[in-house]
């Protein structure tokens, strides 16, 4: 307790002469009065419980301007002149008078609070005032004090400063230190502590050659230098960071944040100073010239959970994540239970409600993107791929299919339908069939040609606005099935009996799986040709080419009758067929040249067609763009970019200047942008596909009147869940249906809306768009354009720039512009699908590796933080600015008020907590108990330090030596304190201290879940030392995932991934890895500074029967059966591997008996040796006996305990 008496009063002008003077005065004052009740344990709890709510730190709820938590304020006269606390004079103190008042308007606490003080409590307060009303500042809020290590009573025992502090306390308690541990135990202890693995027998042998001080130091240094060190300490850090590989809550889907975990391991191995480690994780993105690694580091606070349930409000769960971040920051760096101040000012610690939200404001101003982590090697490979792709594009024409034929369009004479479809001849010689579509039909086309030697026919299936989705078929989705195609021919001039034309071969541009072209001429009506090949290529023109057995030719022309049977599927009818007829054409040019020529001709045809369809779009630059939530920014190219938060129902409102010409169609482009999730165009970041959007309703008003729409088309329309999502759904008056472009994120799409009546020029336009569905999915970047083209317009998949080029008068295009168009043609024309696919693969950005990071919001668009009444999301009150905890330390001048400033404040020398909390946590890791037992709570409710001077000395020493964790660990494990034997003195004996609070012995603690598993792997020789990468799925019992939502699977890893270190195990929050769960590992739902160490039958069942431990025992069995030496030697080896020490003669004899008994049972077939031994070679019964023995060893208490 002496440390409290000697600490400074609560002034923050530390070190000033004034403070020193005040201290002297106060100490004198304390000495003058009789000893009163203890402030910390007796007085403050009463004040805190009954007075602080209205007279405490919270200035919002403070009554009458009276504050009782600070002495200066309590002894100052109030406005009324009364003085609450008159030191030494309870009778004159207003506080005492009010305690005893009988008038309900006077008595304190007021009757309305229904709080009353007991007589004893009143007496305590009076006695405290009588004794001088001494306020003792809480030790943890005072900066660590410089103390020199005391002289040790026994000068021979201490090895370093730590021991001198410990020895002093031991002496005060009348205790003696224990003898040093034996070398085996010590070497194992420090190995488990520093790298989380036991030594191998070989390593141990090396140590035993020189187990003295120098040898031990070398042993320790070797462990500190091992890459296993970062894995061991990384796992502890992951407890604080609440790391997991899934999002949590119902869906609990996989996330990729393991690059952060690997960053932690690398940083710890490199002994990154802890202050730097802090800065990078809290604010790496804000460091000047932030590196990729520094951005990865910000994943620390992205380990919060993400709810992807369909019904949630994403901003509500964002708020929950924020409260988690505040609480985690408090526990991890400050050792404070900040979470208690979420709903109201902290009941015990001086953390006002408002300051809680000011702390939140630091953390709340970040966006939460996925950081794409392309490895430099992948980047280089990608560049090479792009070059190759460019070369392939240049050579595309050489792959263009050519016909060794001369084609001409046949003249359509007649178009008939057997089932009464209405057939109409169009100018281009195609036949359009309309009217109610019958389920089946036989269409007949009668055509003529004057060409001679016709030996092939092509059936084109064209698109038309009159067809569903423009066809080519007549069923709702536009597909068709051609059951059979039959041809007859007759002379045109003298019609005689038609002659049947025998088809030999059929080819088509596309063939639906199960419906190849050949089935159209196979003579069977139940088979046929269809064109739905997926990938959005259905609603395009297609064609089928049929080769004749022999040429057909009549002088004076030929009349062909083509019968199209549709008998397979209801309404799967061709809507607009056209017939081309061909004859062989000899061409002497080289093949490549002919292909290039054909490609060029096709391009010219496409160009001519495209020119006909294209219209002139004029981008409409909004005069204003606002929304219900995200910020809309108008860009130079007239597009609008959205950023900030989005909700499940966001409305965008745009106003445009009145267009100069009438508007016959409006185009909405949904545009990709690298700043958006998956490059956009949408902003969806959870539940649906990232980068998705859903335009539920679009309304345009012109001159104040709503525009009615005649039609709506889109370049691509796809719903991520459920039915269709076309542009028409965005103007159907139902906000639940809409336009979406799922599946093609990162690409540009457009929707074109045609008004029923052209919008007159000069009408002011206002556009309103509603986005949202069961997840937030607003549009991230878009542009609105208008056209005055008299025929309106249709959506096109051509990029907008190319559409503009097509508007240029023919002949005015530069070669480069024409090349752009040609390239687009070559990359989209169906004839080159195969080569295009290869190019697309080459152009694909390397993906798969992303990690979650924080990114500070733009300076001109900060996210406001509000105080939330009762801590509830739905009760935001006034806005608060970022600020730190005033009771802890001032915010240093000159620091930015952002996360970087917060991080610097945390690790500033003025901060009394961070170094102490960090040092204490290391102590806990090594001794099983912190110098402050409540590692997570250094506040008033936490435990006092057992060795306050040692804690302060370590904290200062830690900061002075560059916040080096390795140095700190080395310092502790080299101490005599750490090296003591852990033997427990029996109850009743003088040294009995079950919790080892006074450190009269070395640490003895059950190993953590991961260490138990890793130690077994090391003992068996199975341990894979591969570091890093995505989580692995080692074997665990079937049924662990049984209750997980959505039938989640556990795809058990094969090979070495079964035996990776435990921290690489995939962590699923809702279905934790069974063995870890059984041994008290956390589930990553909240920050954990201290694990339980339970001791349960389920643990016994795990070690005895779990599939993993059986695998380990069998591996040991194989090794031991193969090993040289006598049974005794091999028993020793097995023992040594598991427990790092040789067995005693007794133990050896017991083990041998067991081994021999089992061997006999295996040999007698009493037991199934093959089942116990598992896979492998070597003598079966021996392997089984060794496996049985290894299994027993793995179950020993000593195996899972650090002794």
């Amino acid at each position: 307790m002496e440390h409290r008496r000697s600490t400074r009063p609560s002034t923050r002008r530390a070190g000033s002469t004034l403070a020193a003077l005040a201290l002297w005065l106060r100490l004198t004052a304390v000495a003058t009065f009789a000893a009163g009740p203890d402030f910390t344990t007796e007085v403050r709890p009463i004040l805190s419980q009954h007075c602080f709510k209205c007279h405490g730190p919270d200035d919002l709820s403070r009554k009458s301007g009276l504050r009782l938590d600070l002495r200066d304020a309590a002894v100052r006269p109030a406005k009324s002149g009364a003085v609450a606390v008159v030191a030494g004079k309870p009778a004159e103190s207003e506080l005492v008078r009010r305690l005893h008042a009988t008038d309900p308007d006077e008595v304190m606490p007021p009757p309305s609070t229904r709080q009353t003080l007991t007589a004893a409590e009143k007496k305590t307060l009076e006695a405290w005032i009588a004794a001088g009303a001494d306020y003792v500042p809480h030790w943890a809020f005072q900066r660590p004090r410089e103390v020199s290590p005391p002289e040790s009573p026994d000068p021979d025992w201490p090895r370093n400063a730590i021991d001198r502090f410990v020895a002093k306390t031991l002496r005060q308690r009348g205790l003696e230190p224990s003898a040093p541990s034996d070398p085996h135990t010590l070497a194992r202890r420090v190995s488990l502590d520093l790298i989380g693995l036991p030594p191998t027998p070989e390593e141990m042998e090396g140590f035993l050659r020189d187990p003295g001080d120098a040898g031990y130091e070398r042993w320790v240094d070797r462990l500190l230098a091992s890459p296993r060190y970062g894995e061991r300490w990384g796992r502890r850090w992951m407890d604080l960071a609440r790391y997991a590989d899934t999002n949590g809550y119902e869906k609990d889907r996989t996330r990729s944040i393991w690059p952060w975990r690997d960053w932690v391991i690398r940083s710890l191995n490199a002994d990154m100073p802890f202050d730097r480690f802090t800065l990078e994780q809290l604010a790496g993105d804000l460091l000047p010239g932030a590196t990729r690694d520094q951005r990865i580091a910000t994943g620390f606070h992205r380990n919060t959970m993400l709810n992807e349930e369909g019904g949630i409000d994403p901003l509500e769960f964002r708020f929950h994540a924020m409260t988690d971040r505040v609480a985690t920051t408090g526990t991890t760096w400050l050792g404070l239970t900040l979470g208690c101040a979420q709903c109201h000012t902290h009941k015990y610690d001086p953390i006002p409600h408002r300051e809680y939200y000011r702390m939140m404001a630091f953390l709340n101003n970040a966006d939460e993107p996925d950081l794409d982590l392309v490895e430099p090697a992948d980047e280089a490979r990608h560049r090479a791929d792009l070059t190759e792709a460019d070369a392939l594009v240049e050579r595309l024409p050489e792959s263009f299919p050519i016909e060794e034929a001369h084609w001409s369009t046949a003249t359509l004479l007649e178009a008939r339908s057997q089932k009464g479809s209405e057939g109409r001849r169009l100018d281009d010689q195609s036949a359009l069939f309309t009217g109610p579509a019958p389920d089946t039909d036989t269409l007949t086309l009668v055509v003529s040609t004057t060409e001679s030697g016709v030996d092939r026919l092509r059936l084109e299936t064209l698109l038309d606005d009159a067809l569903p989705k423009r066809g080519p078929g007549r069923v709702a989705h536009g597909n068709f099935v051609l059951s059979e195609l039959k041809i007859t021919a007759a002379p045109l001039t003298s019609p005689g009996p038609p002659r049947r034309v025998v088809p030999t071969r059929a080819q088509a541009d596309v063939e639906q799986s199960g419906f190849p072209a050949g089935q159209a001429i196979d003579g069977q009506l139940q088979t046929g040709w269809a064109v739905d090949v997926g990938g959005g290529r259905l609603n395009q023109p297609h064609h089928l080419t049929v080769q004749f057995q022999e040429p057909v030719s009549f002088p004076g022309g030929t009349r062909f009758e083509i019968t199209l049977e549709h008998q397979n599927a209801a309404q799967h009818l061709i809507g607009r067929p056209r017939i081309q007829l061909g004859r062989p054409a000899a061409d002497p040019r080289p093949l490549a040249e002919r292909r290039r020529a054909a490609a060029e001709a096709a391009f010219e045809r496409w160009l001519a067609e495209a020119r006909k369809q294209v219209v002139r779009w004029t981008p409409l630059k909004p005069t204003s763009a606002t929304s219900t939530l995200p910020r809309l920014t108008i860009q130079d190219d007239a597009s609008v970019f959205a950023d900030g938060d989005i909700s499940k129902s966001d409305t965008y409102r745009l106003a445009f200047q009145a267009p100069a010409a009438p508007v016959t169609a409006v185009r909405l482009e949904a545009m990709p942008d690298p700043r958006l999730p998956k490059q956009g165009p949408g902003m969806a970041y959870y539940e649906g596909p990232k980068g998705d959007f859903f335009l539920g309703e679009l309304t345009l008003s012109a001159g104040g009147r709503a525009v009615a729409w005649a039609s709506a088309t889109q370049s691509h329309g796809k719903n991520a869940f459920g039915a269709e999502a076309t542009a028409a759904h965005a103007v159907d008056g139902d906000p639940q249906t809409g336009w979406s472009t799922a599946g093609r994120e990162g690409q540009r799409h457009e929707a074109v809306f045609v008004p029923k009546e052209p919008i007159p020029a000069g009408s002011e336009l206002r556009l309103e768009m509603l986005f949202g569905r069961h997840y937030a999915c607003s549009l991230g970047r878009f542009r609105v354009s208008a056209t005055a083209h008299p025929a309106g317009a249709r959506a096109s998949s051509l990029p907008a720039e190319l559409q503009d080029l097509l508007m240029a008068p023919e002949g005015s295009l530069t070669e480069a512009q024409k090349a752009d168009l040609r390239r687009h043609f070559l990359l989209t024309t169906p004839e080159l699908a195969e080569a295009q696919a290869r190019i697309a693969r080459l152009r694909q950005r390397p993906t798969g590796r992303t990690t979650l990071v924080l990114q500070e919001r733009p300076a001109d668009h900060p996210r406001p933080t509000f105080l939330h009444r009762r801590g509830e999301f739905l009760q935001p009150a006034e806005r608060v600015e970022a600020g730190v905890l005033s009771a802890v330390a001032e915010f240093p001048q000159g620091l930015p008020r952002n996360r970087l400033g917060l991080a610097r404040w945390l690790v500033s020398p003025e901060n009394p907590l961070t170094a102490r909390v960090t040092v204490n946590r290391q102590w806990q890791a090594l001794f099983g108990r912190g110098l402050v037992r409540t590692t997570e709570d250094f506040g008033y409710q936490g435990d006092s330090p057992s060795h306050p001077e040692l804690l302060d000395w370590l904290a200062i020493d830690f900061m002075r030596h560059g916040w080096s964790l390795k140095r700190l660990h080395r310092q502790i494990v080299l101490s005599a304190t750490y090296r003591q034997s852990s033997r427990i003195r029996p109850g009743g004996s003088p040294g009995h201290d079950p919790e080892n609070r006074w450190l009269a012995r070395g640490p003895s603690v059950r190993l953590e879940a991961e260490v138990i598993r890793d130690a077994a792997l090391r003992a068996s020789g199975l341990l894979s030392e591969t570091m890093g990468g995505p989580g692995v799925y080692p074997p665990q019992p079937a049924g662990v995932m049984e209750a997980a939502w959505g039938g989640a699977a556990w795809p058990t890893s094969q090979g070495a991934d079964r035996h990776r270190r435990s921290l690489y195990t995939f962590t699923k929050r809702t279905a934790p890895f069974a063995m870890f769960n059984t041994f008290d590992a956390p589930t990553g739902e909240s920050c954990l500074a201290r694990r339980d160490t339970s001791n349960t039958p389920l643990q016994a069942l795990t070690l005895l029967n779990d599939v993993f431990f059986i695998e380990v025992a069998q591996a040991m069995g194989r090794d031991l059966a193969r090993a040289h030496g006598t049974v005794g030697e091999r028993l020793r080896l097995a023992f040594q591997r598991c427990l790092s020490r040789p067995p005693s003669a007794d133990e050896l004899a017991t083990l041998e008996t067991f081994w021999r008994n089992q061997l006999a049972r295996f040999r007698s077939r009493d037991l199934d040796a093959a089942a116990v031994a598992g896979p492998g070679d070597g003598p079966l019964e021996e392997r089984a006996a060794w496996a049985a023995l290894a299994r027993a060893l793995l179950n020993l208490d000593e195996m899972i305990t650090k002794g």
């Binding site: 859903f694 997570e936 039938g1047 909240s1086 339980d1092 039958p1097 005895l1104 000593e1198």
Partner: protein, 480 residues
């Protein structure tokens, strides 16, 4: 107020317990030091250290709980809460005055009303009105207390399920079963004291539903699985027979005892005891699962196939667990989330659960176990009087999540039988009589077990936590 988490006499108490031959883990301590709870060190320990039986604050009416959790949220309007007025309003939106500012998961609050889909009739002496899809429950209405006025704060599955079980919407706090175990300890030496089973689909709330939260981890629910070994690793590995297992345990115990003698760590004694309990569990778990001893009548009453995992079999197993000293059984049936086709959903889930739920109550009553076993039946929230239909999601004729008013029933353990409690308005939208918040139910359940819910606390992260947070009123009207 005592700000110290450990009363000063705890070391002495621990020594005392140790000397009684009960090895106690370090963590076990916390469990013994509950405010006002007294360890009964003279009775044998439960399965696992830290779980010695304890006396509650006062003599409770229930000693055990079976919680039949209907995951996904059943439609009270099709099961328990008859609302003829809805039929008249069908197709029309509710007036905004009724809806208030309520947020919904999927629908807009002004969606059209959907009338009740099933007929209701009065049953039993109590004349309790129940839907035609629950014919079995109808026969035992006089044994249950139907609460038609339950309210919750959450309207999404995972948060609401976690809220019902832990009193808080985020994962991380102790579940009801953990609190009960923490307060009462275990009376079973051979089975876990808090057992969790689930049939049908995976659970939205996941492992958080039976987590011990910040309570010592020994209070976590143990899952009893449908397939394979009922408890993870309770079966011998392939090739290991009973004798080898015994030999192994003897060898381990022998070496552990020597170690104990050498280093004197009492944790080793606890571990030795844990291994013995594990060995007993290996026998008792299969015995529990073996339904061959159950009569044909019993199996028929539940509708359980002894070899096929089902809700019915799980109900029968729950009774067997209760008989064997299990303190808290949590049985999850997920699947009531009727966003589309509420008729088909209710019909199929009722067919799965009605018979067995009623049989469980009847069976417990016949065996004299109902008096001190509390049975709870219900979900995480209710369903809207409004229809859910969403063409973009392919949904029609469903009901959305409704937190303001829903129904549950309780039976046995000191709950008044044959009564209905609370009522909703004629649209089934709001509670208009005797509202029972989830925190109130939690307080009531703890009360039945003998706890003052305001005093069953655990000090964690700077303050004392309780299941009911700072809320909860015991619903005295439903107590017998």
């Amino acid at each position: 107020m005592n700000p110290l988490p450990f009363p000063p006499d705890h070391v002495g108490r621990r020594q005392f317990l140790r000397e009684c031959g009960v090895g106690l883990g370090k963590i076990a301590l916390a469990g013994l030091l509950t405010d006002g709870l007294r360890a009964r060190a003279s009775t044998p320990p439960g399965t696992g250290p830290g779980l010695a039986p304890k006396s509650p604050h006062f003599a409770g009416t229930a000693r055990r709980v079976i919680h039949l959790f209907m995951g996904g949220a059943p439609s009270q309007l099709e099961l328990f809460d008859s609302k003829p007025a809805l039929a008249k309003l069908e197709g029309r939106p509710l007036p905004p005055s009724v809806i208030g500012g309520q947020r919904y998961a999927f629908i807009r609050p002004d969606a059209a009303v959907l009338g009740p889909r099933f007929k209701f009739a009065r049953h039993g002496q109590s004349g309790t009105e129940i839907s035609e899809v629950l014919p079995h429950l109808a026969k035992i209405v006089d044994d249950i207390c139907l609460v038609r006025s339950v309210r919750t704060d959450q309207f999404n599955h995972a948060p609401a399920q976690i809220f019902f079980n832990t009193g808080f919407s985020q994962p991380g706090r102790p579940s009801l079963g953990s609190w009960v175990l923490y307060g009462l300890g275990s009376e079973s030496q051979n089975l876990p004291a808090f057992v969790v089973m689930s049939t049908a689909g995976g659970l939205s709330g996941g492992a958080a539903l039976w987590s011990s939260g910040f309570l010592p981890t020994v209070h976590t629910g143990v899952r009893l699985r449908n397939q394979g070994p009922p408890i993870l690793n309770v079966d011998h590995p392939p090739g290991i027979d009973g004798r080898l297992q015994r030999d192994t345990l003897d060898l381990v115990a022998d070496l552990n005892r020597r170690r104990l003698g050498e280093v004197g760590d009492p944790e080793i004694a606890t571990r030795i005891a844990s291994y013995e309990m594990a060995f007993r569990l290996q026998t008792s778990a299969p015995e529990l699962m073996d339904l061959r001893g159950e009569s044909r009548e019993t199996l028929a009453m539940y509708g359980a196939d002894p070899d096929k995992p089902s809700f019915a079999r799980a109900c029968l197993l729950a009774r067997r667990m209760i008989e064997r000293g299990v303190r808290f059984v949590n049985l999850y049936h997920e699947g009531w989330d009727a966003h589309s086709d509420v008729v088909g959903n209710v019909r199929s889930n009722a067919a799965t659960t009605d018979k067995a739920s009623a049989a469980l109550v009847t069976d417990l009553r016949q065996r004299g176990l109902l008096d001190d076993t509390l049975v709870i039946w219900g979900g995480e929230f209710g369903r809207t009087p409004m229809v859910e239909s969403n063409p973009a999601l392919g949904r029609s004729q469903g009901r959305d999540h409704h937190p303001q008013a829903y129904s549950m029933w309780l039976a046995g353990g000191g709950i008044r039988a044959g009564v209905s409690h609370g009522a909703t308005d004629e649209l089934g939208f709001h509670v208009v009589e005797n509202p029972v918040h989830v925190h109130d139910l939690q307080a009531t359940i703890l009360h039945c077990l003998g706890f003052d819910h305001e005093k069953l606390t655990f000090h964690h992260a700077g303050r004392d936590y309780r299941l009911t947070d700072v809320h909860g009123q015991v619903v005295r009207a439903i107590l017998a």
